[in-house]
């Protein structure tokens, strides 16, 4: 399975050791059969926590149940999840040039018309839509992660054309990356002081606090996902390439 990790480009789809082939087909099939029997046989707990959540939805300060669960009932999970994202970003970030500016505009010799047109049209729309999604998260489907993802999509679009160069190891970038975790922790611990136990939002301010956490989360997630993508980008012709390339080391 993992013993020999081959990375040559044109290797056959399936490594031919017959033994593993047959065995794994067998078991995969078996697994499928077993799980299907579970699903069929067991009525199980058909409503889960839905009724409980609907009762407490008013206390959570948001009306959208998913956001309520995510940011109020199980806020601790979300906090750790942001930490996970931070782990990966840390692992991938290059270790050099903290001093380069956070944001730089580069004059590009060869312009890619379609790309620049696309950027000009879609990027602003996406940003606006992301803002709406963030705001709507409280009462309609939407929220920090979706908005963050969208913004990251927009940033992917922007970098494709090498016009803008974001250096993720500059101090500013690092602060933004870490922003959501810091905010989350400070609010969480502060609430201990005020409300007695971790992450218990006061009824009056819970909606506001959740919104604050959501915005910071969106910013961090955007930067995180963008940096994930940028680490793979090798743009050939700009001086940034080499240091970016070196970043891959």
């Amino acid at each position: 399975m993992f013993n020999t990790l081959n990375i040559e480009y044109d290797s056959p789809a399936v490594d031919k050791s017959a033994l593993s082939l047959i065995a794994s087909v067998l078991v995969a099939g078996f697994l499928l059969a077993v799980t299907i029997t579970i699903v069929l046989s067991d009525k199980g707990h058909n409503t889960g926590l839905a009724p409980l959540i609907t009762q407490n939805i008013e206390l959570s300060g948001v009306t959208n149940p998913v956001t309520a669960v995510l940011l109020n009932f199980r806020a601790y999970d979300t906090l750790l999840e942001i930490a996970v994202l931070l782990v990966v970003v840390l692992a991938i970030l290059p270790t050099r040039d903290h001093h380069a500016p956070f944001f730089k505009r580069i004059v590009v010799s060869k312009k890619n018309l379609v790309l620049s047109a696309l950027q000009r049209w879609i990027a602003p729309a996406v940003v606006v839509f992301a803002g709406y999604l963030l705001w709507a998260g409280a009462h309609q489907p939407g929220g920090a992660f979706q908005a963050g993802a969208l913004l990251a999509g927009a940033s992917v679009l922007m970098f494709q054309s090498d016009t803008y160069q974001v250096n993720y190891t500059s101090l500013m970038a690092r602060v933004l990356l870490v922003l959501s975790l810091v905010v989350f922790i400070t609010i969480g611990t502060a609430l201990i002081y005020f409300e007695g136990s971790l992450l218990t939002y006061p009824l009056a301010f819970s909606g506001l606090l959740i919104l604050l956490i959501e915005t910071c989360a969106t910013v961090s997630i955007t930067l995180a996902l963008a940096s994930l993508y940028s680490s793979f980008i090798v743009s050939e012709n700009t001086s940034v390439t080499d240091n970016k390339h070196r970043t891959i080391k």
């Binding site: 993992f2 407490n56 782990v87």
Partner: protein, 504 residues
Amino acid sequence: MNELSSSLLLPAIVFLPLLAAIIAFLIGRNQLQGRINICFSLAQFLLVVLTTLLFLHEQTYQSERYVIGGWGAPLGIDLIVDGFSILMIALTGLLTLLITLYSASYFSDKYSASEKSLRFWPLWWLLISGLNALFMSADAFNIYVCLEIIGLSAAALVALQGSRAALEAALRYLLVGLLGSLFYLFAIAILYRSHGTLDLMQIAETANHSFPDKVAMILITIGLLLKIALFPLHFWLPPAHANAPTPVSAILSALVVKASLYILIKFWFDVLGATITLGASQMLGALGGAGIIYGSWCAFRATQLKVLIAYSTVAQLGYIFLLFPLSEYSMGVSSFTGSASQAAVYFIVAHACAKAAMFLAAGNLILAQGNGEIAQLKGIAVREPLNVLVFAVAGISLIGLPPSAGFIAKWLLLTTAIESGQWWWVIVVIIGGLLGAMYLFKVLSLAFSTDPAVVESPTSKSTPQVSNVMTTVALILALITLALGFNAEFILNISNTVSEVSGI
């Protein structure tokens, strides 16, 4: 412990390392970095000691629940602390303090690994916070997220080295980690579907011999076995632990592997205890036994020092897996109580300290020697007497010879095996001890033999002198293993809080 549950101690244990990670990430690489991290580790250690003392002070030996967000079990997430978890947290605190001290000088400018320190420190603290979060969490999905934090940060730390072997080992470790976690997630989904809640205590109450619970238990077992690297599924551990930088391989072998074991024990005995069958526990025992033999054999044939120690981890894990068949008999109902659990807990603590000491000592030897080849270790006892002594003491504890904690653990294991009449485990343990002796003394005999060529001409390129901070840290760990060898009562008192606890 009411003031503990309402106070900020428990969550602080998780958040302090997170803050440390953030600060380490922000300040980047400068001289202060080492010192800041050391005081963070000191703070963490004090915090952990305070919590342990408070917990012990209670003497109620009941597990303490800490309700986050005030929502209560099914809806919100709770943190739960019982004897076993407080012991693991204390162990993590101790090892964090010592290994941070070690890595402060390991990643200092004296050695070539210094420019990696920017990436090392944040990942290190995230790993520690993941571990602490895991030991405290009482919620199934929360455990999944903690497992992920630990898995990803550990893989990133292994990849820190940058050499091809390290990167490949890290990639393999990561893929295995992800696969294991997916199996675990799938099991949670099934459990949620049939029990409607994610809280372990509530699942435990409604767990029965029903079909889905059994399948969930199977998936959890196979997923976590993959992450714990029990015998047949251990292929990823030796390269990962061998190629990681020394402090990382120390914490990996000592604690990270134990984290998934902690979860497996929790599910196996407390949460889904009802679904256990005799055949399954015997099978795990058998795999453990085979692991002891195979691990020691590969350790004996290893040519690299750190590969040898990694394989010895595989072997030592085999010992702990003997817990499953033994506790099955001794206590009738399979709950994590009785002498088998005490033996396993003591083994975990003894192995953690001994293995960490051994890896640090080996790291020092490799630094002094230049490369990790065992053959080149000839006559090193002359140049690095203290490190060889630490290596020997740690080895003695791993084999289970008297003055060390390993001996007490082996003693408890043997007594349980004999009491429960499963004499075949006795033979496995004894043979394991002998095989362990084989590979330890292979290294020691080389260390003691004076190769005339080596003694006269000290190694040509002046290898950096191993800083005495690193040696003293290794020595402290070795002394702890020896100290644990004497007053076994202290650890057993804490761990038998586990035995009184009914539920989790």
